[in-house]
């Protein structure tokens, strides 16, 4: 109980902190609206030029729902761990964080957790409700919502572990920008956030199936939209990645943390 109380204190602090940046939220929402406008017109003209209404098993409205919710999930899960960590190494603040009574990786996760809670309610939920109303029942309501919530929690954990792993690489290279942009572009493409995975050619799709990235956006959305019958299998794939990435990240962190050098401070 005591351990949980400590962690939730961090969650609360994060919630209060992120509520302070209302302008940031406004700009993010504005950016999402512009992105959705672009996606709408782009895919509308793509489907208009195509002789078939259904491509790769997806209709226009399927694609729209998928991409809009993917962007909502993206802005809700987005973390700046890589940047935060490299900045706190430069300033020397990381020493204080390492001395906290909670292991560093856990401390970081719980500090971010408040931000997740707030952005879930401020960005994801409104988007979901709007999509639900506009699409008039294209999203089934039932047990799939429960699976979706479980899946999102797992996706948050996977995303966090990927980010933390990449941030740890930065301890070795001192090239934050380069490493971060590599992660961003790979995750965006292979998770299905830019083009739904249903459109991928078979050869690439086979490779993507064995990568952890689809577990971040594609699997939760599949479960929500009831696109796949095998619910347990999808959830187990996610669980598998959570465990593998967390273990790999923990080992890698342990080796790397000795390398931290802070100049002055």
């Amino acid at each position: 109980m005591e351990a949980l109380r400590k962690r939730f204190a961090l969650t609360r602090a994060g919630m209060i902190e992120s509520l302070g940046f209302r302008l940031g939220t406004f700009v993010t929402v504005l950016g999402n609206i512009i992105y959705i406008i672009l996606v709408y017109f782009l895919w509308k003209s793509i489907y208009a030029s195509s002789p078939n209404d259904v491509v790769g098993g997806m209709t226009f409205s399927d694609t729209m729902i998928y991409l809009v919710l993917a962007s909502a999930l993206f802005s809700f899960m987005e973390m700046y761990i890589v940047w935060d960590m490299s900045r706190s190494i430069q300033s020397g603040k990381i020493i204080l964080d390492l001395l906290k009574p909670l292991p560093y990786r856990k401390y970081m996760f719980w500090s971010y957790s408040g931000n997740f809670v707030i952005s879930f309610f401020l960005t994801f939920l409104p988007t979901f409700l709007i999509v639900f109303v506009i699409s008039k029942g294209a999203i089934p309501i039932g047990l799939n919502l429960l699976y979706f919530v479980i899946s999102v929690v797992l996706a948050v954990l996977i995303n966090y572990n990927i980010d933390m792993f990449v941030a740890t690489i930065c301890l070795h290279t001192e090239s934050t920008w380069g490493i971060n942009i590599m992660k961003e572009s790979i995750v965006m493409l292979f998770s299905g956030a830019t083009i739904p995975l249903a459109f991928f050619p078979e050869k690439i799709a086979k490779v993507v199936a064995y990568l952890p990235f689809r577990a971040v956006y594609d699997i939760p959305l599949r479960l929500l939209l009831c696109k796949d019958g095998d619910i347990m299998k999808l959830l187990l794939i996610q669980l598998f990645w959570v465990i593998v990435l967390a273990a790999a990240g923990a080992v890698f962190w342990k080796i790397s943390v000795r390398r931290i050098t802070v100049n002055g401070g």
């Binding site: 672009l38 793509i46 195509s50 290279t173 572009s185 459109f199």
Partner: protein, 265 residues
């Protein structure tokens, strides 16, 4: 004229200093450029995947779209290479370091911007150039002196628009705190420039042409070479409009800089 020579001489001197300090981080140079090429490669791959499913988008074939993509990457190289210091503006303003630029007998904007030359833009230059040449060859545009010089002028005009957008976005930090989100939002616009503006309808076409001028980063300037039979009037005014946008963003930036009074530290 001697004044221009004076500024060029100063620019080269500052550039030399910056490159010297960058040379001590050779790993960063290599990794940043790999990251840059990788993120562009992912953009390239998205087009390939899209056109596996669809023949054309709104009357645009695969290679015409790749031409737009290559053109946009080249047009975005100057803002990446020469105007990258805009990303640090908000930190300089918040910390008070910006005051140092106010005490030099040269133009503040010039001095501030010239301080950083971003080497990772070179990766984009190479990749964009390669894509443009490949698409040029595939589309079968005649290689004439006229076409090549038109492309160069168009690229120059196109590059002014993104520079103007980023100048204006960076300058918001003189008025609001946490303007980082504004920069991130503005920088995302560049990703939208690779699509033909003809996919947008009505008010949105006006919005993306005159308010957020992403249509001018690739579509209008490149159509002069790509589809010479049917050039819209808006293409011919690319250069003067680009200069107007650049000038306005410069005035906005300078207005902020003049208002700046330091942080008192």
């Amino acid at each position: 004229m001697s004044r221009l020579g004076f500024y060029i001489k100063i620019y080269l001197k500052i550039l030399k200093q910056d490159l010297k300090s960058k040379m001590s981080y050779r790993a960063d140079f290599v990794i940043s450029n790999i990251g840059m090429i990788l993120t562009n490669l992912v953009g390239f791959l998205s087009f390939i995947i899209l056109f596996e499913n669809f023949e054309e988008i709104n009357g645009w074939t695969k290679y015409e779209m790749l031409f737009l993509y290559g053109f946009s990457l080249l047009a975005l190289t100057p803002v990446q290479c020469f105007f990258d210091n805009n990303w640090n503006l908000r930190f300089a303003v918040e910390s008070g370091d910006f005051i140092k630029y106010c005490f030099r007998p040269i133009n503040i904007f010039f001095y501030y911007i010239s301080e950083v030359f971003d080497v990772k833009g070179l990766g984009q230059l190479v990749f964009g150039g390669g894509t443009l040449v490949y698409a040029w060859y595939k589309v079968g545009i005649p290689v004439t002196f006229r076409n090549i010089s038109l492309t160069c002028v168009s690229l120059f005009a196109a590059s002014l628009f993104m520079i103007a957008v980023m100048n204006a976005a960076a300058a918001t930090c003189f008025w609001i705190t946490r303007s980082g989100m504004v920069m991130v939002l503005a920088f995302k616009f560049k990703d939208y420039s690779k699509y033909p503006i003809s996919i947008f309808r009505g008010v949105f076409r006006v919005l993306f042409t005159f308010i957020i001028p992403i249509a001018y980063i690739a579509y209008y300037p490149s159509i002069v070479v790509l589809r010479p039979d049917n050039i819209p009037v808006l293409s011919w005014i690319s250069l003067p409009l680009g200069l107007v946008f650049f000038y306005l963003s410069y005035r906005f930036w300078m207005r902020g800089a003049r208002k700046y009074s330091g942080t008192g530290s």
